[in-house]
Amino acid sequence: MDEILAAFLEDTREHLADIETDLLDIEELGDGGDSELVNKVFRTAHSIKGSAGFLGMDTIRDLSHKIESVLDAIRSGEMQPDPEVINIVLRAFDRLAELVDNHAESNEMDISEHTQTLTALLTDTLPEEERAGVTTKLCLNLPSGGSVLNILEHDLRKARKNGNYIYLVEYDLIHDVHRKGKTPIELMQFLEKSGLIIDCGMDIGAVGDLSGELSARIPFHVLYASILEPELAKAIFQVDNRYIHEILDEHTQQAESTTTPTLGACAPKEADAMHEDATATQAPPNDLDDLEAAFDAAWSQAGAVGANADASQAITGGMTKQTGPACETDTNFEAMSGESQDSGFVLDMDAPLPEAEEADALPPEAAQAADAPPLRTDGDATVLTLSGEATIARAAELKNALLQGLNTGSSLALDVAGITAADVTFLQLLHAAAKSAKARSIGLTLATPLPAPVLELIARAGLDTNQVDWPASA
């Protein structure tokens, strides 16, 4: 432990030593400057946050987290690195260095001045109607009434903007994890790898105490953002459908029900609270028809919201530019090719994909592959070769490759023999491609058998590919 602490202090001091020069360089270069330099400073804050959390230095963790959020906004172009911004970040880093120097007492040290100014910077980057969301908490009232998750409206909106569906999944760690031979660590690793945990909570009151038998139930609720659409999510979460609830936008009016989670303002409602009508409830779909109907409702709502979406959230360049500004987060293949239909069920392929947490972690070979989707013609069919790691880090690239393949208009065969690793985002892409191909009456086949990593993933996810739209075997 002492070695871990010593290494943390040494690393942190070393990183912080360069910060001032780096930040001043960023300011000088201005917007569109050296993105690698912004990345470097971002990574410093990110790694301090992680280590401090591990070492129980909560104040250091919280301050570096705030700094990280501001640097993330600079990195994504939402915030300009002007002198005022850089000065605030510099002063926050100075305070961080003081905290590190006094790490033993750091949890008792005050950082409120810095967190307030950093939060104000973040608030300023948002459209006016979204500013309240940075501090407005929404409560998710669970059907059991046993526990409540608190989330910042801003976090929920951000998760949704990236083209995600929001689900509340009610796990029972005994029934859904232990009896299936899994451990909580495996569950959390799976969830973290396949999407974003917005919040979660254990209903610890339901577990009971040491008097009597140990509880046969451990309710665990996860509010989760994923690009997996409901049809696939059912297979992935591995719990009974009754325990998966799609959380629709808070502006969506739905009939209230006592059996579904409700999203709304927390506690005393303020006179001007815009969430008084917030009742984002949705009956859990029991069959596909219900599901499609629910989905259509979600889509039309999302489309309306999407019209106001920040254009910077859309994937830029290439294919998605054609979708036009009206429905950036929610257009589908049909809209793209000018054959827009009312159904809107083929939603996913054009929704911006969640950015990997560390965009810079993309392996160099992936970046190269992005340049040229390997398409070739084989008789009447087009063959698209997908290889390497088919994971969330490359999901946007693979999606574009599939889109280009489908846009040729001829039958498309997928050569996937060279896939070396895959996560659930790849299953979502294959499923979405199959649906889009069907909607366009184009044949989509697998030119090669699925390689072992993909087969293992399908087995692990419990996905029955006969039950969902899926590329046909050759």
């Binding site: 432990m1 871990i4 959390g53 591990f54 070492l55 129980g56 760690l173 005994i174 994890v177 232990h178 451990t183 909580p184 660590i185 959390m188 973290e192 945990i197 919040d199 979660c200 909570g201 254990m202 610890i204 009151g205 577990v207 009971g208 105490d209 040491l210 008097s211 140990l214 509880s215 451990i218 665990f220």
Partner: protein, 101 residues
């Protein structure tokens, strides 16, 4: 081999092995015995613990609930990086203190 050190109202229990279904009854009995002696400040030292399964997690929560009923407090120390991260991602650290040291 479980190490138990009691000092007035404070006690530290170090089970020294994975907290899983096969051992929870044993650990539960040891914790109950310590609480019966009037201990309110209970520390579970997880040194040497590599895995906590769902049943083990349930026991930790039940211990927290029992200690809380007596006006006491549960702290977890010596958690491995994996277990610490698990407790943090599951937000259990909002209910009781979890540390790696």
């Amino acid at each position: 081999m479980t190490e138990i050190v009691t000092n007035g109202a404070a006690a530290t229990i170090a089970p020294g092995k994975d907290i899983v279904a096969s051992m929870v009854e044993e650990l539960k009995a040891e914790v109950l015995a310590v609480l019966d002696e009037g201990v309110t400040e209970l520390t579970l030292n997880l040194k040497g613990v590599v895995m906590v399964d769902s049943i083990g997690l349930g026991l930790l929560i039940a211990i927290h609930n029992s200690v809380g009923k007596h006006g006491g407090r549960l702290r977890i120390t010596g958690a491995s990086p994996d277990i610490l991260k698990l407790m943090q991602t599951m937000r259990l650290d909002q209910h009781f203190e979890v540390k790696s040291a």
